[in-house]
């Protein structure tokens, strides 16, 4: 079943008198419980595509259908609600609230979802335990290592039980070993039945996924199945 269906999406920025086609014409279908990597040279439109898929941004042209709902027609509030309930973001730079501890960072999406404080706490603690940070819940981001921060971000992405996880270069700021830890986490999340889309520059990271979509100049250059998938142990 399609969870994501985009048709002829374009994103055009007006820079001075010049038009920048960050995305020229992209059509994609992604099924539930797929594990997809998006690759491509810098400036090829990967982040732009992720932002559109994540309802952070709206396309200039084209149609976006998210689990049967027409996202292209939605207003700001509806988009915020989709982001809150259906999508879990993981960013390259973690994007945690610097002055709040891990627990509050993970609770935040639940606050916006209107979950009562008691249930919120339980779910946030469970999510942190899930990523192996049970003993770091009251730590602020600057008291955590890069890998731990990214795990807090993953816990935050998971805590609302979203339909998909979107990760834009989640290992980009981490060393190889820590990156591998995060990828193992993603593997487990995928095994648990989640849909994952991740952007990466590294071939070996991409090979964790089952499918690689290669972008170039705002177009899909290739869309391939990974034959020799790397399964973390």
């Amino acid at each position: 079943m399609n969870i994501i269906n985009i048709e002829h999406i374009a994103k055009i920025y007006q820079v001075g008198s010049e038009e920048v086609h960050a995305l020229a014409d992209v059509s994609l279908r992604i099924n539930k419980n797929e594990y997809v990597a998006i690759m491509g040279p810098s400036g090829s439109g990967k982040s732009t595509l992720m932002n559109i898929l994540g309802c952070l941004d709206t396309p200039t042209k084209g149609l976006y259908d998210f689990s049967g709902e027409n996202v292209s027609q939605m207003n700001d509030n509806e988009l915020a609600s989709i982001r809150n309930r259906q999508i879990g973001f993981v960013f390259q730079t973690f994007n945690l609230l610097a002055r709040s501890d891990a627990l509050h960072n993970v609770e935040l999406p639940l606050i916006y979802a209107g979950v009562s404080s008691h249930e919120r706490r339980e779910r946030a603690e469970a999510a942190l335990e899930n990523v192996g940070l049970k003993d770091r819940m009251t730590h602020k981001p600057n008291e955590l290592s890069g890998g731990q921060r990214q795990r807090v971000a993953v816990a935050r992405a998971l805590v609302t039980n979203p339909s998909i996880i979107l990760a834009d270069e989640p290992t980009g700021n981490l060393d190889t070993k820590t990156g591998e830890d995060i990828m193992r986490l993603f593997h487990e999340i995928h095994e648990a039945g989640n849909t994952i889309i991740l952007v990466t520059h590294e071939e070996y990271i991409a090979e964790h996924a089952a499918r690689i979509i290669r972008l170039r100049d705002g177009l899909v250059e290739r869309d391939e199945v990974v034959i020799n998938r790397y399964i973390p142990v």
Binding site: L56, D76, N95, T160
Partner: protein, 413 residues
């Protein structure tokens, strides 16, 4: 409804967290509002104090009184030179009026002079000495701390006796015991027969009974009056406020007869009454009020601009935070609410501190006999004003925050 309450509660909690996280800035932000609210509270309390003082002053003079005088006290319609050219009101006029008047419950003459009063090495300068007769006390609401007013006998005999206002007595006899002492007024000996109870109306200045001394009127003519004038004022007390008008009518008729005026001649005297004083006071208080409001309004405005400015800086600095919040599902309304409540809470805290400052300030001012008391109205005023200021000055920054594009905000360095 439940949802909205939840959102408000969570919004307030988020704001509180953010304020605690940005302590130093929050403190700076509140300074303007502390000053603004403190000045509003102090000013409004002071104005109230002034007003009450005026009213107390009027009450101590008696509100059912009429004063026949050469001068119109509050009426600006009669040109001053016309009043100056009037004949003085004399003791003969007073006696003639007193013989004919039936309505007043009490009538007394009064004449004033300013003198230095001395007791041993203590002295008070420029004291308002009121000369009058024994009936005077019944035209006022004055009461006694000790002693009495001078008797009919002392009055008629023009004895050297004096009744002191409470303030004068305090200055001459800090330890008390004024009664029966001999004091010197303008070099002449007087025996203290009474000390008045404090009236506490500082605004009336020399007119305040606290700052006066009362002697039989003959002494004024004998010792204190300068060559040009032996004019007096006739003090009249009407039976009650309903009788004030008819008492005034009667006085008008009698005085015209006493002064020998023909039917086409204008009055060569004025009948003054409290009403004139009251309108005067209300006008004065009104002017003070407007000036006070302008000044404090300005202070608040500066405070509000400060808050707005710092909230704008805060929004700018926290652009990334806003982007994160939006990415994980905060709506425009949530962000708007968060920043407005942040600003409102900061202002409220500032307002409370300002209120504290005002309370301390009023205690200090109270040391100088300025009657200020901060009451519940002032607290309500401080809370409302700081909340309103917070919401208004927080709105524009909050709106810019709410409007931010999440992608741009997340990319912000």
């Amino acid at each position: 409804m439940k949802n909205l309450l939840f959102e408000i509660k969570e919004g307030l909690l988020i704001s509180l967290k953010a304020i605690r996280a940005n302590k130093a800035r929050s403190v700076l932000t509140t300074l303007g509002i502390i000053i603004g609210v403190a000045s509003v509270v102090l000013m409004s309390t002071a104005i109230k104090g002034i007003d009450q003082s005026f009213q107390a002053g009027v009450a101590s003079l008696g509100s059912d009184n009429l004063y026949i005088d050469k001068w119109a006290w509050f009426d600006n319609d009669i040109p001053w030179w016309e009043m100056r050219n009037r004949k003085d009101i004399t003791m003969e006029d007073f006696r003639a009026y007193k013989d004919l008047a039936k309505l007043p419950i009490s009538i007394a003459p009064s004449a004033n002079s300013q003198r230095t009063i001395k007791y041993e090495e203590r002295s008070v300068q420029f004291v308002f000495i009121t000369g009058t007769d024994f009936n005077y006390i019944n035209t006022t609401n004055l009461s006694f701390d000790e002693g009495r007013f001078f008797t009919e006998l002392e009055s008629n005999g023009g004895r050297s006796v004096v009744v002191l206002g409470s303030e004068i007595s305090k200055k001459l006899f800090p330890q008390g015991g004024a009664l029966n002492q001999l004091i010197k007024i303008g070099g002449n000996r007087f025996k203290v027969v009474g000390v008045l109870e404090e009236q506490g109306s500082w605004v009336m200045g020399g007119w305040n009974p606290d700052n006066q001394a009362y002697v039989p009127i003959q002494n004024i003519f004998k010792y204190f009056v300068s060559r040009h004038s032996n004019g007096i004022t006739i003090n009249i007390r009407a039976e009650n406020s309903q009788m004030v008008e008819s008492t005034k009518e009667e006085a008008l008729g009698i005085m015209r007869r006493v002064r020998g005026l023909k039917y086409d001649e204008k009055n060569d005297f004025s009948i003054n009454q409290q009403e004139g004083l009251l309108t005067n006071i209300n006008e004065t208080v009104g002017v003070i009020q407007i000036a006070g409001l302008l000044i404090t309004g300005l202070a608040l405005f500066v405070g509000a601009i400060g808050i707005m400015n710092i909230m704008f800086v805060s929004v700018k600095e926290r652009t990334r935070e806003i982007g994160i919040r939006k990415a994980i599902g905060a709506t425009k309304r949530t962000i708007l609410g968060q920043f407005i409540s942040e600003s409102a809470i900061i202002c409220l805290i500032g307002g409370m501190i300002g209120l504290g400052v005002a309370i301390i300030g009023s205690m200090i001012i109270a040391q100088f006999d300025f009657p200020v008391t901060i009451d519940i109205d002032a607290v309500i005023l401080a809370v409302t004003i700081s909340l309103i200021t917070g919401v208004i000055s927080g709105f524009a920054p909050a709106y810019t925050a709410a409007k931010l594009d999440p992608v741009d905000a997340l990319r912000y360095e």
